[in-house]
Amino acid sequence: MMPKQPGGQRLRLPLEWLGILPFVVFAVLFLILPTMKIVVGAFQTADGSFTFQNLIDLNTDSIRSAYWTSIKLSFVTALLGCAIGFAMAAAVVFGGMPKGVRNPLVTFSGVASNFAGVPLAFAFIATLGPVGLVTVWLRTEFGINLRALGFNLLSFWGLVVTYLFFQIPLMILIIIPALDGLKREWREAAAVLGATGLQYWRMVALPILFPSLLGTFALLFANAFGAVATAFALTGPQLNIVPIKLFAQIRGDVLGNPNLGYALAFGMIVITALANFLYIWLRVRSERWLK
């Protein structure tokens, strides 16, 4: 582009970039440099020389199990969030339900997907905690003791149930536009060719939706992986998942090695970045169909 421009234009070009200078300065100072600090720190010893030792040191039982629990938690909540959110969205879009149901559901999803963190933990403690509404109700009315059945809100599955409260709405928000993009003609064309409803879903709709579904799964995964507040308010510092471990490390260097903290954070960036790039890539692919 540059060589084609006459001389005067070429001189003006750099000046136009000045217009986004404030934004670039902000992004460098408060987004890129802090992240670089973590990434570089992950490969440095305490005196600043290059090393892989921090990443190797991540391979301890406690840290490995923290990553594994975090990945499992994110995977399970993303999977269940996708499945349940999809079912609810499909019910509203295709289930022949009255029009008045859809808008409230979308509005509520907007609220619920933002209702994460500390208050969400309180809500679930009041509901499924030891003296919570549902726990007590099941015990007094039906004699079902959730605790005796092995359910504990402050455990892995307790976290899963709690995380679903913001994962499902997020899925609904993202997937409803995608479901709207499924054209009526496709269904009719399939029906004309003799496809059953199941065949239509299996051979037409799901393959078209697949990139959006997998992409949203990746987004939900990253969403759960980075969440700190909900888990912290629910279980305090003892649950062994990566964000909580990092939280404790930042507060009081519990690992006894600041650079190991960088490595722990670096691992988080790698995992959420992988999940997000999968999301963005698949989203671009799915948008080809859903115009």
Partner: protein, 260 residues
């Protein structure tokens, strides 16, 4: 048959969402033995720390919205008008806060802006507040930018700019009196979302040791029984209010446009 399954799925989902909301509301009313009362709420509202932390977070939210608007509106405008080639880069940067977890960003802040660094922001309360505001602006960036950029798409930026310029307006006038009013709805909806995010935020405020609403809620949750669900109800009402206001401004603007 389909309809039966559709309703079944939908109602089960609603049950899942309703139960915690009912649970927290019911629990928050149970402070007085044997009867429902608003005692827990009275306790929360009588707590000076509630008002202190709440107004602190509200102030930071206002600062975050101002910084966000001043940062995002001119940038999105300029990219649309003069630098379409920079668009992919800017969009990528605005998506980064969704990729990098907030806890990692704040970890970077703590290490980068400590007292012995080139910009010792964490050395003073004011500096830390500025840092926290910038952190919140970062968190809100993806939503704010998307909202404003979508708003700009609906107006003819180039024509408006040329018209303003031929009447003698400078850049500041164009931005403040032509562009901003035209994307006000987008700015407001971004602002309400920012408000909801900042008021409930816990991680950044806790790690930077600032007396914000999020850490206060967590502290109360660790020590009390009935106040936390009352706080949850209040927080839910705030989130709902922010989202409701977001919808309201969008709806009002549609109404106006239809009239015109």
């Amino acid at each position: 048959m389909t309809r039966f399954f559709a309703w079944g799925t939908f109602l089960l989902g609603c049950l899942f969402f309703a139960l915690p909301l009912i649970g927290m509301t019911e629990f928050s009313l149970k402070m007085r033995r044997g009867e429902y009362s608003f005692d827990a709420y009275a306790r929360v509202f009588a707590d000076q720390r509630f008002w202190d932390t709440f107004s602190y977070s509200l102030t930071l939210a206002a600062a975050t919205i101002v910084v966000g608007v001043v940062l995002v509106v001119p940038t999105a405008y300029w990219v649309r008008l003069k630098l379409p080639q920079a668009r992919p880069v800017i969009e990528f940067i605005t998506l980064l806060p969704l990729v990098i977890p907030a806890i990692v960003i704040v970890f970077g802040y703590i290490r980068l802006y400590n007292t012995s660094s080139f910009l010792p922001l964490t050395g003073s309360a004011l500096g830390t507040d500025i840092l926290l505001t910038m952190g919140y602006t970062t968190l809100a960036l993806p939503y704010m930018y998307r909202s404003v950029d979508t708003g700009l798409r609906t107006i003819d930026v180039a024509t408006l700019t040329e018209a303003a310029q031929s009447l003698g307006a400078g850049w500041i006038t164009i931005l403040a009196r032509i562009i901003l009013p035209n994307v006000m709805v987008a700015v407001l909806s971004g602002a309400f979302l920012t408000l909801a995010i900042v008021l409930g935020e816990f991680t950044m405020a806790a790690l930077l040791n600032r007396p914000a609403f999020g850490p206060f809620m967590q502290l109360l949750g660790a020590n009390r029984a009935y106040e936390p669900p009352a706080l949850a109800v209040i927080a839910f009402a705030i989130t709902w209010g922010c989202m409701g206001l977001m919808q309201l401004v969008t709806r009002l603007s549609k109404h106006e446009r239809a009239k015109a």
